[in-house]
């Protein structure tokens, strides 16, 4: 039997390489979605992961860290938030 492929559609999915939680604790939107100010998910709205291993949409966390009440702490564990280096 000989099959001739006339047309094909490729479909793929993606997710961030971070499996601990699914939602950003700040905006409660999926990590694979966007923070409330972005339109397109992915590289435009990346995640940030702390040394404490807690992850957020980067934009959400930066907004929190600019508030005075944050005192620079991770919203989850209240340790000083430092971006993980690797």
């Amino acid at each position: 039997m000989k099959v001739t492929i006339n047309r094909w559609n490729a479909v793929s999915t993606w997710h961030w390489d971070h499996a601990q939680e699914e939602l950003c604790g700040i905006c409660r939107v999926a990590f694979e979605g966007t923070c409330p100010t972005c339109k397109y998910p992915g590289d435009d709205c990346p995640l940030i992961i702390g040394e404490c291993k807690h992850a957020f949409h980067m934009h959400c966390l930066l907004k929190w860290l600019t508030t005075e009440s944050s005192k620079g702490l991770c919203p989850m564990c209240r340790r000083k938030f430092k971006t993980a280096t690797d």
Binding site: G25, I26, C27, R28, V29, C35, P36, T37, C60, K63, W64, T67, S69, S70, L73, P75, M76, R78
Partner: protein, 219 residues
């Protein structure tokens, strides 16, 4: 609008979890920044059986700023104003975190009822009562739960006035016999209760207290 999306999500989540005993409702369909929260008084406390209503105002920079909460139902508790319902709770002030939710805040209020912090009071008079006479405090708190929060089938959660005329002695935790003693001197009961409340005395017994009340009554 990040805020309204998150609030809508939180309301959905609370609805999907009736086991938590926490209920959230909008005051008006058109305003997502003003909600009412409801929960039951925790068992094993003077508030057991009471239905509590909390007024929730959500600031425009929520969840980066905490929601503003106060009790609509009158509560007799060291960290809650017996007059205004204002609440003294750290997570609603300087230890707020944006990962906290309305549900989590209401659960914290519920546990505040279980564990008062009289050393950091919102209502100094109530805190004094709590520290000086724990049994008397429990009785008054239980009585308030009955008349204002509907424990034992009393008033409804929305009542700001009691279902029946409350007993002033029970309501303010003031000793009945102490008031009777002044009444027999010819003073008006209402006036005696008013004076004792004002100077923060629940019972006559300690030296000088009787004179102080008399002095006030004779003014």
């Amino acid at each position: 609008m990040s805020r309204s999306r998150r609030i809508a999500k939180e309301m959905q989540d609370a609805q999907a979890d009736p086991q938590s005993g926490i209920r959230l409702e909008m005051v008006s369909e058109s305003d997502i920044s003003h909600l009412k929260g409801y929960f039951e008084g925790p068992p094993g406390t003077p508030y057991e059986g009471g239905h509590y209503q909390v007024d929730i105002e959500i600031p425009s920079d929520y969840p980066f700023k905490p929601p503003r909460m106060k009790f609509d139902t009158k509560v007799y508790h060291p960290n809650i104003s017996s007059q205004t319902g204002a609440i003294c709770l750290d997570i609603l002030k300087d230890t707020w975190s944006p990962v906290l939710t309305l549900k989590a805040s209401l659960i914290s209020l519920q546990s505040l009822l279980t564990s008062p912090e009289p050393s950091n009071p919102q209502d100094a008079e109530v805190a004094k009562h709590y520290m000086a006479d724990r049994r008397g405090f429990d009785n008054t708190a239980r009585y308030w739960a009955k008349v204002y929060a509907g424990a034992d089938g009393g008033a409804s959660a929305t009542a700001t006035t009691p279902a029946k005329t409350p007993d002033v002695f029970e309501l303010y935790g003031i000793d009945r016999d102490s008031v009777k003693a002044f009444e027999s001197m010819g003073f008006d009961q209402q006036r005696i209760v008013e004076v004792m409340r004002r100077i923060g005395i629940k019972k006559v017994g300690a030296d000088g207290v009787e004179d102080r009340i008399l002095e006030e009554l004779l003014k």
